[in-house]
C-alpha cells in the first residue's frame, strides 16, 4: 500500500466518525543523514516552559551551533505523532511518557538507541534502574530517560495533632489498622465529606499498593499480566474501603475534584486532607504557596515497613525515519547529561532565589546529576519541614520501581484502570473486576506479542 494511500486512509477513519486534526510534519528542509552537529533537527512533545528546559536547550545550541533546532512546543499527542509517522515525515525526536515507549518500540516506530549510546559514548550506568527498565524492551534500550517522578506520603501534622496523633503513628504498612486510622482522620458531617483522612490515590497508584503487598501487576518483561493475583485484589480492596468509608466514591471524588494543588488554597493549606501519597512535585508547590504549612513527608512503605515508591517520567526517543539521527542523538545526550542538568538546576535555584522562594531540588533520571545537584548546589532552606522532605524524596529514589516497558502498555493500563473504576462505581467486586481485567490484558498482550 502506498504511503499516500495510507495517509489518506488515516484521514478517512476520522472523516467517517470524528473531525480529524491535521498532522504535523518534521522539517522538510532537513539535511538528511548529516553528521553530528549539522542540519535541521525537529522535536515533538517538548516545551520550553521553564528554565529547566530553556537552559538545557541553550546548552545544546551552544555545543552544536550548526544544528537548526526546531522545537514544536506542546505535549505529546498520539494522533499528531501517528499522522507524522504515517505521512513519512516524522520529527527526529519525540518527548513522551516512558510508559508508551514499549508499545512504539514493538511497532517499530522508534529506533533502538544501541548505536546512539555507542556513538555518543552515553553512560547508561548514570541513569536510575527504574527509569532504564521503562525504556528497555527485550534487552534493547529505546529511549533516554529524563525526569524521575516518585511518590511519597504527605501528612498534615496540624490535623494529626487535632486527632491526637503524631506523624510516626501514621503507619501505612499496617493495612489492618488503616480503616480505623482513616475513620479517626476523616471528617464526614451529615453525610458531607469535608476532610479526607487517607486518600489511597487509586486507580493511578494501585501498582504501588500492589507492590507494597508483594505483587507485580505485570511481569518484568512486560508481556504477562498478573492482575488477578490475590495480592493485587487485596490491595484494591484495601484502597476501595478507604474511599467507601469516607461517604462513598461519589462524594469522595467530588470533594477531591475541588482541590487546587497549585495555589495558595491547596488542600494542605486549607486542611482538606490529612494523609495522601503523591508525586514529589507537590513539595515545590507547597514550598512556594504554603511555606508555613505543617507538612511532614514520609516514604510510602510496603507491608514490612520498607520504603517503596513508584517511579515514572518522560523520555526522548528517536523516530524511525528520523532525517537527522546523529544530531538527535547528540541532542539527547546533551539534554540528559550531568553537567546540563546541573546548569539547569542552577538556573532554577537562581530563579527561585530571585522570586524569594525556596529551591527544593530537581529530580532527574540521571542519578549522577542528582548527586551533583544536591552535593554542590542545593542549600537547606532553613525550614526543617521542607529540608526533611527533600531528604526523604532523595532517599526513596533508590527504592523506586517502575511499570516495565510493555508491547501493549496502553491496553494493559486501560484494562486495570477500567477494573478499578468499575469497583469504585460499585459495578463490580474487586476480584471479579480484576479477573476480567486479567482476561482483557492477556488478550491484548498476546496479540501484541504476535
Amino acid at each position: 500500500m502506498s504511503r499516500t494511500l495510507r495517509v489518506t486512509a488515516l484521514a478517512g477513519v476520522l472523516t467517517l466518525a470524528v473531525s480529524g486534526c491535521g498532522g504535523v510534519g518534521g522539517g522538510g528542509d532537513s539535511a538528511g543523514g548529516g553528521g553530528t552537529g549539522k542540519g535541521a533537527l525537529t522535536t515533538m512533545g517538548f516545551g520550553l516552559s521553564d528554565e529547566i528546559a530553556t537552559t538545557r536547550v541553550d546548552a545544546f545550541k551552544k555545543a552544536d551551533p550548526d544544528v537548526d533546532l526546531k522545537i514544536t512546543e506542546g505535549a505529546f499527542d498520539e494522533q499528531q505523532f501517528l499522522s507524522a509517522v504515517a505521512s513519512g515525515n516524522p520529527p527526529d525526536l519525540v518527548y513522551m511518557d516512558r510508559k508508551l515507549v514499549g508499545t512504539y518500540a514493538k511497532r517499530g516506530s522508534i529506533q533502538p538507541m544501541t548505536d546512539c549510546v555507542k556513538q555518543q559514548n552515553i553512560d547508561m550506568g548514570q541513569y536510575r534502574p527504574a527509569a532504564k527498565d521503562q525504556v528497555t524492551l527485550d534487552g534493547t534500550v529505546y529511549a533516554i530517560p529524563e525526569f524521575s517522578s516518585v511518590r511519597v506520603v504527605y501528612l498534615n501534622e496540624a490535623l494529626l495533632r487535632q486527632a491526637r496523633l503524631t506523624a510516626d503513628q501514621v503507619d501505612l504498612s499496617n493495612w489492618a489498622a488503616l480503616p480505623a486510622l482513616n475513620a479517626r482522620l476523616a471528617k464526614v458531617t451529615g453525610g458531607r465529606l469535608s476532610r479526607i483522612g487517607i486518600d489511597p490515590k487509586i486507580p493511578e497508584f494501585l501498582p504501588m499498593w500492589a507492590k507494597a503487598n508483594g505483587a507485580d501487576m505485570i511481569s518484568a518483561d512486560g508481556t504477562k499480566a498478573n492482575l488477578d493475583d490475590p495480592k493485587v485484589v487485596e490491595a484494591l480492596t484495601t484502597g476501595v474501603k478507604l474511599i467507601s468509608d469516607q461517604g462513598g466514591f461519589g462524594k469522595f471524588k467530588s470533594f477531591r475534584d475541588t482541590f487546587d494543588f497549585f495555589g495558595a488554597k491547596n488542600p494542605l493549606a486549607t486542611n482538606q486532607i490529612v494523609a495522601w501519597p503523591m508525586e514529589e512535585w507537590f513539595l515545590n508547590q507547597a514550598a512556594k504557596n504554603s511555606p508555613k504549612a505543617e507538612l511532614v513527608v514520609k516514604p510510602f512503605v510496603d507491608r514490612q515497613g520498607k520504603p517503596l515508591t513508584m517511579s515514572s517520567g518522560q523520555a526522548w526517543v528517536i523516530t524511525k525515519g528520523a532525517k537527522n539521527p546523529d544530531a538527535a542523538c547528540a541532542f539527547v545526550k546533551t539534554m540528559t547529561a550531568t553537567d546540563t542538568w546541573f546548569a539547569a538546576a542552577k538556573a532554577r535555584a537562581e530563579a527561585r532565589k530571585a522570586a524569594g522562594q525556596p529551591f527544593t531540588g530537581v529530580y532527574t533520571g540521571n542519578a549522577e546529576a542528582d548527586k551533583k545537584i544536591f552535593d554542590e548546589l542545593y542549600q537547606p532552606t532553613g525550614n526543617k519541614r521542607f529540608d526533611d522532605a527533600v531528604a526523604t524524596i532523595r532517599s526513596v529514589q533508590e527504592a523506586g520501581f517502575a511499570m516495565p516497558a510493555s508491547p501493549a502498555g496502553a491496553e494493559f493500563d486501560k484494562a486495570w484502570y477500567d477494573a478499578v473504576n468499575r469497583v469504585l462505581a460499585g459495578q463490580e467486586q474487586p476480584e471479579a473486576a480484576l479477573r476480567r481485567a486479567q482476561q482483557e490484558a492477556t488478550a491484548a498482550l498476546d496479540k501484541a506479542a504476535k
Partner: protein
C-alpha cells in the same frame, strides 16, 4: 392530412451556447467543493473501507485479514457497550433538544422588541468551545459542591453523583448537551416566523383554540424544520465525542483518574482503538459500521418524513 410535429426528447434537447457557458461557470464555482469532497471525504472513505479489511497499526504496512475486524467487532463487548450508550444518549438527547428548543422558540416568538437580545442570549452558548463546556459541566455536576446539586438541595432534594454513579452519568451528559441547543432554537424560530398569519386567522375563524392551532397549523407548517433538526441532531448525537472525551477521557491526567463505562461512547472507543491502541484497521471497521447505522437511521427518517413533513409548494 395529418401532420406530425416532432419535438426533441427532453434529454436530447440541445443546449444553447448561453446555457453551456452557464453550466461551465457553475462547474467552475462548484469545483472547490467537488475537489474537496473527493480529496478529503471520498478518497479517505474508500481508503478506510479497504483498511477495515486489514490489520493496520499506522506504522507498518496493512495486512489483509478479510472480515476479521468485523467479526471481532461484533463479538467485542466494549463495542456493544459503547454503541448501547450512544443509542441511549441519542434517544434521550434528540427528543429533549427538539421539545425544549421548540418551547423556547415559541416563547421567543412572543417576545416583542427584545427578541433580538434573547435570540443572541440563547445562541451564545453554542459559541462556547466544546472542551470548555466539558470542563464547565464537570464543575456544575460536582456531587457535593456543584451548582446543580446545590440548586436541588434548596428544594430538599439530595442530588445524585452525576459523574460517578453509572445510573446518573448519562443523564448528566444529556443535561450538558442541552447547553448548546441554541442552533435548534434559532432554526425553529425562523420556521415559526414563516408560518403565514392568515392560516392562524382562518383557524381562529373556525373556532380553533391554542392547542388546535399549534397542532393543526404550527406543527405541519414547521414540520420541514423539525425533520431537518431530527436528522442533524440524530447524526450529531451518534457522533458525540468532544465534550464527553474532555470530561472523562481528555488527557493524561484525567485518564489516570476516574472514567466510567457509562460514559464510553462509540466514537470515543473508536478513537482509543485507532490512536491509543494502534488498531487502525479495527477502528476503520468501527467507523464504517457507524456510517451504515447513521445511513440506515437517516433513510428510515426520510421514508417516514414522506408521511409527516410538509414542504412549501407540495400538494399536501
Amino acid at each position: 392530412m395529418a401532420t406530425t410535429v416532432s419535438t426533441p426528447a427532453p434529454g436530447r434537447r440541445r443546449r444553447t451556447p448561453l446555457a453551456r457557458r452557464e453550466a461551465r461557470w457553475a462547474y467552475l464555482f462548484l469545483a472547490p467543493w467537488i475537489v474537496g469532497f473527493l480529496v478529503f471525504y471520498a478518497g479517505p472513505m474508500i481508503a478506510s473501507l479497504w483498511l477495515s479489511f486489514t490489520e493496520y497499526d499506522v506504522i507498518n504496512a496493512p495486512r489483509f485479514t478479510g472480515l476479521d475486524n468485523y467479526r471481532e467487532l461484533m463479538a467485542d463487548p466494549q463495542v456493544a457497550r459503547s454503541l448501547g450508550n450512544t443509542v441511549y444518549y441519542t434517544a434521550l438527547h434528540v427528543p429533549l433538544v427538539m421539545a425544549i428548543s421548540l418551547g423556547l422558540a415559541l416563547l421567543l416568538k412572543r417576545v416583542g422588541r427584545l427578541q433580538g437580545f434573547f435570540r443572541t442570549v440563547f445562541y451564545l452558548p453554542v459559541m462556547t468551545p466544546a472542551v470548555a463546556v466539558g470542563i464547565l459541566f464537570l464543575l456544575l455536576l460536582n456531587t457535593q459542591d456543584g451548582l446543580i446539586n446545590r440548586g436541588l438541595a434548596l428544594f430538599g432534594i439530595e442530588g445524585p453523583s452525576w459523574t460517578t454513579d453509572p445510573t446518573w452519568v448519562m443523564p448528566g451528559i444529556v443535561l450538558m448537551s442541552l447547553w448548546s441547543l441554541g442552533s435548534t432554537v434559532i432554526i425553529y424560530l425562523a420556521a415559526l416566523q414563516n408560518v403565514p398569519r392568515d392560516l392562524y386567522e382562518a383557524a381562529d375563524l373556525d373556532g380553533a383554540g391554542a392547542w388546535a392551532r399549534f397542532r393543526h397549523v404550527t406543527l405541519p407548517m414547521i414540520s420541514g424544520s423539525l425533520f431537518f433538526t431530527l436528522i442533524v441532531n440524530t447524526i450529531a448525537s451518534l457522533q458525540m465525542f468532544t465534550e464527553v472525551y474532555t470530561m472523562y477521557f481528555g488527557n493524561r491526567e484525567t485518564q489516570n483518574r476516574f472514567n466510567s463505562d457509562a460514559a464510553s461512547f462509540y466514537v470515543i472507543h473508536l478513537f482509543q482503538e485507532a490512536f491509543q491502541f494502534l488498531h487502525m484497521g479495527f477502528a476503520s471497521a468501527m467507523a464504517w459500521v457507524l456510517f451504515l447505522i447513521i445511513l440506515l437511521i437517516t433513510l428510515v427518517q426520510v421514508k417516514l418524513s414522506n408521511r409527516f413533513v410538509y414542504y412549501e409548494g407540495e400538494d399536501q
